[in-house]
């Protein structure tokens, strides 16, 4: 009794393996047929149990083990096969390699954040640490300590959103410079990325909210030439190793000397094209040496320390890099836009 059943189980197991490995097993339907044959209600397994009922208690223990083992091997193998086979509606089960693969769901970073992170990582490599500050600011940090007194015409360059109790929405991330210098002594080497707000009606090139990165370096012996060096190195990493930069004199109350800087157009190798309006140059933003008056507000010795500061608009860089022609696209959040990056 014991031996014949044991033999039957072994034999069934071998048969099962042969069936399961056969090429004919493809679809879920094939797998289901196997299941019915071996472990279904009228399958081999039920037979084994019937036979087991007639065995002695001693035999039952041994055989029960064997039957359970058979059952678990078959079930495991079947579930493996089931996972590999397609659903039953695949029709016949012939593999059609031209059917599209099933794409996994992936997350996507907003293009502005993609650029922002690229910028952050380049500056990190260059030894800058990242600082943050609040979006709601005071007049002191946003203007006064940056040498922009009330009623000064340079305030006209930035139209500001105001909140009750003399608070305002920062118009640049420069307040972070002041906050950092107030709490730490030189050397300072930071970038301050973040959201800024200016009262501009949205159109293709204006947005009432935008992202900016500002840099600040303060130490002994910091020079305008070093500012040019840092920005050139950065732009070459951002736009390619042949990129050139151009500084033009300008005016900002918080820097002296002040400059606007441009990069050579990466799309036409500065030969002139539609993107750079045939000029060969793309205007990026402002930079300069920290005005000694600013150091006065944070009690730095302006004779001993010098510093440079620079800014850049993230939308501007993203628009250049991806050739996006309307800044509003960034904030419309249309999936057809977001899914391209």
């Amino acid at each position: 009794m014991e031996n014949s059943l044991k033999f039957g189980i072994d034999k069934a197991l071998n048969l099962f393996h042969a069936d399961a490995d056969a090429d004919a097993v493809k679809s879920a339907k094939d797998v289901e047929e196997l299941r019915i044959k071996y472990v279904g209600k009228k399958g081999v397994l039920v037979d084994f149990f019937k036979q087991l009922a007639q065995a002695s208690p001693e035999e039952k223990r041994q055989l029960g083990k064997a039957i359970n083992s058979f059952k678990s091997i078959v079930n495991n193998r079947l579930s493996e096969l089931k996972k590999m086979s397609g659903p039953s509606n695949e029709g016949g089960g012939e593999l059609d390699e031209t059917l599209p693969g099933v794409l996994p769901v992936v997350g996507r970073e907003h293009p502005l954040m993609k650029i922002m992170n690229e910028i952050k990582s380049i500056f990190s490599e260059m030894g800058f640490s990242i600082e943050m500050g609040p979006e709601i600011e005071t007049d002191f940090y946003n203007f006064e300590a940056l040498n922009v007194p009330a009623d000064h015409p340079s305030r006209d360059m930035q139209d500001t959103f105001y909140l009750p109790n003399n608070f305002l929405l920062r118009t640049h991330t420069s307040p972070v410079q002041i906050r950092t210098m107030q709490t730490s002594a030189p050397p300072i080497r930071i970038i301050a990325p973040g959201r800024c707000f200016r009262k501009d009606t949205p159109d293709a090139t204006h947005s009432p909210m935008f992202y900016q990165v500002e840099g600040l370096v303060v130490d002994e012996g910091v020079s305008f030439a070093k500012l040019k060096g840092v920005l050139l190195a950065f732009m070459q990493k951002m736009f390619g190793e042949h990129t050139k930069i151009r500084f033009r004199p300008s005016f900002f109350p918080f820097t002296e000397p002040s400059a606007e800087y441009d990069v050579s157009c990466p799309f036409c190798a500065a030969k002139g094209c539609k993107v750079c309006k045939e000029s060969g140059w793309l205007e990026i933003s402002g930079a300069g040496m920290v005005d000694p008056a600013v150091f006065g507000f944070v009690d730095y010795d302006a004779e001993r320390y010098t510093g440079y500061a620079f800014g850049m608009g993230i939308e501007r860089i993203a628009m250049l890099k991806y050739q996006i022609n309307d800044i509003r696209l960034f904030y419309e959040n249309d999936l057809r836009f977001l899914n391209q990056f």
Binding site: S129, K226, G229, P249, P257
Partner: protein, 797 residues
Amino acid sequence: MKFNISWLKELSGTSLSDEQIATRLTMLGLEVEALGVEEGPVPDTIIVGHVMHAEKIAGTNNLNVCELDVGGAKRLQIVCGAPNVSANQKVPVAPVGTVFSNGLKIKKAKLRGVVSEGMICSEAELGLSSESDGIMVLNDESIVGGRLADAISSNDPVMELFITPNRPDCMGMLGLARELNLSERKQFKPNLKMHQLVENTSLTAGYKIDVAAPEECPTYTGRIIENIKVGESPQWLVDRVEGAGMRSINNVVDITNYVMLLTGQPLHAFDLDCLKNGVITVRNARDAEDITTLDAKTYKLTPENLLICDGEVPIALAGVMGGHATEVSTDTTTILLESACFSSESIRKTSRKLGIFTEASKRFERGTDPNAVAFASNLAASLFVEYANGSLASSLITSNPDEIKGKEIVFRPSRADSLLGTRISEDEIEKILVLIGCQIIKSDFAWTVNAPTFRPDLLREVDLIEEVARAYGYDNVLPDFTDQIPLKKNTNTFEVLLERSRNAAIKIGLTEFLTYGFVSRQAATPFIQNPDSCVELLNPLSEDLAVMRPSVLASMLPGIAHNINRKQGDQRIFEVGSIFRNNAEKQCIEEKEVAVILTGSANNSNWRHKAIATSFYDVKGFAAQYLRSLFSSDTVFKKSKSPSVFKNGQDMFLGTELLGTVGQIRPDILSEFNIKVDVFAFTVNLSVASRRKVAPVIFQPYSQFPAIERDLAFLVDQQIEAENIAEAIRTAGTAILVDVHIFDVYSGSQVSDGKKSIAFALKFQSPTMTLRDKHVDKVIKKILNTVQKRFGAELRV
């Protein structure tokens, strides 16, 4: 600042091309905004016609039938109602078919039975001026049949510069010429034709100037010119004034404007016959005093505003605009010419408070040169003599005859090199400073530099260093790369957390939104507890962007609706950003929040997998997975007690800290955003979360012994919550129960009404031994007991 390039060339004596001039000025910090010949608004089809005959139509007041030569063989017959039309004029003609920018279309017409084949145009009709009394009459050289645009445009290219607020000197042509000469390293010697003035000093005593506010007005001068004949300006004067984008009015006004454009010093002419009191007083306005300005508007004043008065009577808003009552008219014969210096701060305040921005105020608010006052007055006087028949009835009457000295600055050439990172020779530095108008007394280490009074921006050594850099050329400063060694790096831990939370969201397949920080009050309302906690902008762009968002969800939902409306409704979105609220003390609190929104299908539906609608369980799973990857510990979900935007909201805790809520957004709130489908979401307050230390990941050794799995299915009442049963199983399961998870939940025909079946998969394992059935059986028994007793559960077999 806009001007004809020919004027700049004449003054500077340069031989550079227009493009070279543009580049030079740009690289000196004078940004060129436009360059080229200006095209007016005139429609292209308008041509020059010659009136051959003009004959009054009988029985009409003013209608003339005109015959015009327009270049071709055929002459045009046009009926014209203008009083000034007459034979032999050259006039602008709009033939049939012309369309004006206002949409007016010229058609063939009959007036009083007379056929008219076009229109003779006035300046107003052409958009060249705001009003006109009759048709425009062109000068005789205009080519008949040629384009009007060619006939009226000067071929002199115009340049427009953006002048930064620190450069008042460049608001005048002389300043620009000096800059251009600087770029050529040429001494500035402007090519100016100026007539010798024959001063009549005898009349000076007759008129007085009394400055009661010397802080606001350091210098005030007047000069009386009589026998003036107000009339048309000579063409060269018209060209200069119009090239600058101003309107030519008459010779008197044009001369004052011309001198302002040239020197940067605004002037004003009063009709002396309207002044009664023989004394000009410069004083602060009294409270609620008012003045009616040239444009016939009346302003209520405060003591902040500076007034020019005839005795006591206000006649001009100092430095901003002249008064209506004393304006020069065509009958004027005698003028009082004002040339003065006002404090830039005073003009700025008045201009901003009253909202008046004029060519004069634009210059005064930057700070004009106190030493240009007399020069500009003299120059204008000589032009009045030459072009307006004037004769000098007084010499310059001034409140302050002293010459004003420029600022004295200690300057070290070595400091320039160290700040710039350059090696510029001392000779070059000296040359540059002299060319911009400085006087230098040299000594060994430090020079004493006297800055010119037309450069009020030069106050400190660093300001002179900028001048040196500007003239030396920013391009010539070579980049220095030696600075790029990492300093000690501080890590801003909050910034790191924000980045990690973005990455965690991307990792679980979410797409990032970025939305404005402000929303409409309506969008904010569902997310605030009371109206006072809403942070409002005092000067919003529009009602749609009026308050700071109290939750990131408030600004995201319009974007969600945008995509649903475009048939891209399957959305799995997140945004990390600032949220704002007022606390009980009315202080604004700014915190960071991450918001996640799921809507549409929960899976990537495709040919193999049918779409499954997103459910509460999906968003709860996203939330659990998200927080696990951020904090590497498990979230506890509890039924939300506070009212919120969620229906069936669950609060999420890490330890005892409430981090956020997850659930389905209430349909009534969604309807505010015009969303009609189910939307699931969760938010996590990252400012709160940042207080929690992230548990360091420490490897947990796992058992080397085999595990035993058992499944238990219970039949329970519908309202019994699965998590409670799971928790009871965990507790009863002792240390060998290593995992419990629900693998099936069923209610329907197989179970009786009001019941559901919940199936748990249990895994038992010991770290020290191989478990046997008897060990597990014992624990299972305990579990069964507990669950049956506590939940009235029935074991399904």
